[in-house]
Symmetry: C2
């Protein structure tokens, strides 16, 4: 039975950019599971698998449909216990939630502010309308005004990554000697950035940059092969 | 064989306030291990157990002398495997390093700026000289100038705790359903704050406040029994 991953895409449907989808791509690669991808534009996401208010990523595995990247990782861990673990135990599973909360609340806002306009320009016309309408309602201002007044810099990025940089002085991955799902959580955010900025804004010569490069090369370069925004 | 914990103290040697020592106190309580405490002032720390440049906490367990809170936790985990685990597996052990890097680099600077002057005033005369000399060399300015120009607010504290607050919406502890060493890492920093500020600066009604209250009550209220700065 083929696993199918529904992923967010741009006007070029080979360009899948959602950080949450990249977490799952890396989790599937970590487990050595093959899958087919079904790219979906913003305006079509809610109706995936006959849903009403879906959010990507959505994974179908046989009769099972799972939504939310962490739930998908937990599902893969339970369903494929003989494959390499994504968590290395219950303590790892729990602490991953802290890493995720940090990534979501500290790192994602910086990356989102860096890539907002590029995301918009990468979409097809229908998704552009959807993206602009939903985001401008949330921000209470136009995308352009938001970017002009709330933009972020590479210095903001370097500052927010200080905990990762500090930890990498002690061990090569958040997972320890090898990467685990917690690494892919942070990787997802930085891959999102990489896809829209063409090249890394990470500090040159930093441990975070080296860590990212290592992850991009893993699993036959699955991360490095990502289609970059035009 | 009695375990001995060397801890940093104020002029009142019952007032042990180092966040790193509190991590170890909680780890010892978690393991259900009894110990004796040996409070040491700043100016005497380097010479603990005939050392030359020691830093607290230092733990003596029989012939073993261990320095550094994380190394002590690893030691306790290995030496007392039949007691409740501090990490729940290798993944937890590794991810704890990320939590520690976050705590050390994001949370500690805020707390340090909040309590700096109170620490100074809590010390005996000899330690006051040591503290002032070493810190002013690091800061390049007097303690008073540093506090005046680099002070932190409760808003800074609430902002830096956003990842903890967000995670607590999903699970009660960083360790999952029960606290692990990663929880004590963050607890240590907030206990340090609590000892010098007399009452919590945590946001009223927040999940972080409730989490802290729970930890203060655990192990027969070992945390709540801390001697508070006068």
């Amino acid at each position: 039975m083929t696993i199918k991953l529904y992923e967010l895409c741009g006007a070029d449907n080979k360009m899948v950019f959602s950080p949450h989808c990249w977490k799952v791509r890396m989790a599937l690669a970590h487990k050595g599971l093959s899958y087919e991808t079904e790219p979906v534009g913003f305006s079509k996401v809610a109706r995936i698998e006959e849903g009403e208010s879906r959010r990507v990523p959505v994974l179908r595995d046989g009769e099972n449909i799972i939504e939310d990247s962490y739930k998908i990782a937990l599902y893969l861990e339970e369903k494929y216990p003989d494959r390499p673990s994504l968590f290395n135990g219950e303590g790892g599973k729990a602490a991953t939630q802290f890493v995720t909360a940090w990534s979501q609340n500290q790192l994602h806002p910086i990356v989102a502010r860096l890539v907002l306009i590029q995301i918009y320009h990468s979409l097809n016309d229908e998704d552009k309308v959807h993206f602009r309408t939903t985001r401008e309602k949330t921000f209470g201002m136009t995308l352009e005004d938001f970017s002009a007044t709330r933009g972020a810099s590479s210095t903001d990025l370097h500052n927010v990554l200080v905990p990762l940089e500090a930890m990498l002085a002690d061990q090569p991955f958040i997972g320890g000697q090898t990467p685990l799902y917690a690494d892919y959580v942070v990787f997802g955010a930085l891959q999102w950035l990489r896809i829209f900025k063409g090249q890394s804004l990470l500090k040159k010569g930093s441990k975070a940059e080296a860590w990212m490069e290592t992850l991009l090369d893993m699993y036959d370069g699955a991360g490095r092969a990502a289609t970059i925004a035009a």
